[in-house]
Symmetry: none
Subunit: 338 residues, 3 copies
């Protein structure tokens, strides 16, 4: 509560106004926004503590967050107060306790939103695989150390147990071969937020294009595992507008490779999640061409795409047609001089 | 010097310094960043033009971007200059030509980066399904109108042809039934950028948690199609650090529903795309609990999850176990007092 | 069409649509967003100028912003036009004048929002503690140089005087009474990330100003619990640069209230968390003036501040002095005509 206090360097407080982009369409702040603020407080206080004695410099890396409950919702316009303090240190880890309060600065009302416990481990800046020792904290009561040790042992045990608990979420095709379409195929979902939209609640075309390029770039990087850059974008048609609150799925698949370029088809589908009355629809589509660059910026050969299904072979031939047509067009006209 | 120029209302110029977040790890600005700036210039100039006569107010919506080539790469620290002008108007659409130059402000070097042509359509603000008429531009040479009309007809034809060209990118399970696990299952890929990372090139734990919550929220919204909020997060274990330049896949699937809550399992996998030597690995995992809220903030009943496969049934039972254990724990202890 | 104009290299124009995240809940764009755009224009034009002759490469770093008034509020959906030009150069500093206009692209209405004067100093890229020489600008009228020199001498003097003016903000009192300084006093900490910084690892002056305005806004909202907007910013002095990896603390406290305005002092301290060798230092300081608006945009009376301690009373009197001086100045001169 006391702000950065000179006498208790092991306490810190962060506050920030909640903005439209921090919340869903109904105005409730996303749990993820709060978790992110909690971690920001945690990493500052634990990095500061681990560097408080002379010795090798380090950065504190998050190892575990204990179960946390969201006790009351926070809204746009409220101020989130995140206060953190170090409550226990073992030889190689730091426990940070964080409290989050919401304050309505118009009415003065304050509420406890949640409490969280985070564990950090200090990694050496010189060698990030080396865990350093943590300077001990001073406890005001003897029992605090004993209670902390019990929490430390409990989380350590649970951490071990859970490491292998989770299976994979089934992927459509398992272990696809390199250079196939399935190998690099990628898709991204994006929950449309206020800052993606015009005042009138449609997604800016530019936001959609940026996401399309992002997916195409991931497909290209997965295919050739080098530094890749956009070389050209085929005509993009926007078939229908996308409204605020939609979830959009942007999918990319490689359709064709020449010696030094890759063509990636990107489709954008919009899903009005909350509005049951409307079906998912195709909002936009385009072909992106990427090239692969060496470290000194020269274009590299690209691994050849191996189409497997009939559809993939058909799309490969269509891509080849577009490639040859564009090549002929370029040779037919004088090169544009910047 | 001149501010928005009264004499040439049909021209605009935007410029901005390119930042680390605009570029990939090698320092090349993403094509998507440039496309986004191009569209911002286009929407300003075309909205301004379509409202330049008295009459119904409208917003210009992007309908098509012509093929564009990226002639030379742009780098972090350079200034992008985007200049746009209106080059043709049909009865219901506006053509905008955009040029992008990169300027190195340390050396003074300037390069043409790309040229683009965008088509906008004005939609009424009162009724967004109504297309308004576009005020005509004045051409300085007679031929400009004729050339513009040819471009207009050509794009109209191609637009019609391509509308139905693209098939769906195959989804793992086709047409899943509502309330099944497959129906709401979602995954998101994210290319780790500089602002996701600490100074030392690891992804902030808070960034990962925010993305995990985002996926869990999309799964919950798809399942119950209402306003949903995070109620609690189970312990999150960070099994391994994620480095700059990775692509992370965050997958969420519903595991259990009680009367008024949903449990969603979220897995985070990191894929060091460019670095061939390292395999994809599990970076973090957790269970999120969401509740559904009515418009006045009261909790709503949740549609019951229908597990189909043996694995889904097993996970449902495990989720039920966690739910009952937590419920018993809550009833056993005095409710925490904020 | 022409990109950065070859004939007037000392002028630049930036424009951008205002988005929900740029504004408060009532839709008024934050003063801090505008200050950030102003600084972006300033840093481009001054860095370009300082590198315009062959010689050692440098980056222009913000040293001071003169007092600036916000003449009319800007809203979401409007386009901000920021135009900057170099108006004076001394041996080691550059003066940049910036005008901001708001344009409603639906109605075509344009308004002057504010004017600002910024001072930059060129630091060598090889040795960031070395200040380089500035190439002289060419004045179109003889008097311009003389007037510029007078402004330069005046700011130099004031800069010296203010360097040690500010005491620390301390936070001792719990449960403060409404309308006291302690009641609304606020501070925010921010971990400097890559996207806050220039390529050379300093925090952009505009990022610091945006955070200063955010804290001042929280203080003002706590004090009067209404929709508040930035009315003016006193001269901001940047005493020292802030490096990547620092944690910055931005503290705000109310110093004075008139019938319809509040003055808030904001202090910025930088703390090099990881680097033990350097002490926490004062990086910047300024006074912000806020006004309170009713829902229809009219200015409201402000609750009177109740200074308690001797220091608070002293600062109140100093604030009153600044207020009366500014009032006299305004009445003495013809109101500036947009």
């Amino acid at each position: 509560m006391s702000g950065p206090d000179a006498e208790t360097p092991s306490a810190i407080q962060i506050c920030r106004i909640m903005r439209p982009d921090d919340a869903n369409v109904a105005g409730n702040v996303h749990g993820g926004t709060i978790l992110k603020m909690i971690e920001e407080a945690g990493v500052i206080i634990s990095t500061r503590h681990c560097n408080s004695q002379n010795g090798e410099r380090c950065v504190a890396v998050l190892a575990r967050v204990e179960r946390t409950d969201f006790l009351s919702p926070m809204c746009i316009g409220e101020v989130a107060h995140v206060s953190a303090e170090i409550t226990y240190t073992s030889k190689h880890s730091v426990e940070v306790q964080v409290n989050v309060m919401s304050e309505n600065i118009l009415t003065g009302t304050k509420k406890l939103t949640n409490k969280a416990t985070l564990w950090y481990v200090p990694l050496s800046l010189k060698n990030v695989d080396k865990v350093l020792e943590v300077p001990p904290v001073v406890y005001s009561r003897q029992e605090q150390e004993e209670e902390g040790r019990r929490r430390y042992e409990a989380q350590k045990l649970e951490r071990m147990q859970t490491k292998w608990r989770n299976g994979d979420i089934t992927q459509p095709i398992l272990n696809p071969e390199p250079n196939t379409v399935s190998y690099s195929q990628s898709s991204l979902i994006h929950l449309v937020g206020p800052s993606d939209c015009t005042l009138h609640g449609f997604v800016h075309g530019g936001v959609t294009m940026k996401l399309m390029d992002e997916v195409a770039g991931i497909v290209a990087a997965r295919h050739c595992k080098t530094n890749i850059v956009t070389a050209s974008v085929d005509a993009i048609n926007f078939h229908d507008k996308i409204r605020k609150g939609c979830v959009i799925t942007i999918s990319g698949r490689m359709t064709f490779t020449s010696n030094k370029s890759m063509e990636i088809e990107v489709l954008v589908d919009a899903d009005p999640v909350v509005d049951n009355s409307q079906e998912r629809y195709r909002a936009a589509s385009a072909f992106f061409t990427y090239v692969s660059l060496s470290q000194d910026g020269r274009s590299l050969p690209v691994p050849q795409l191996v189409p497997e299904t009939e559809d993939e072979k058909k799309r490969f031939e269509e891509g080849k047609g577009r490639y040859l047509q564009m090549k002929a067009k370029r040779q037919g006209q004088a090169e544009p001089q910047p």
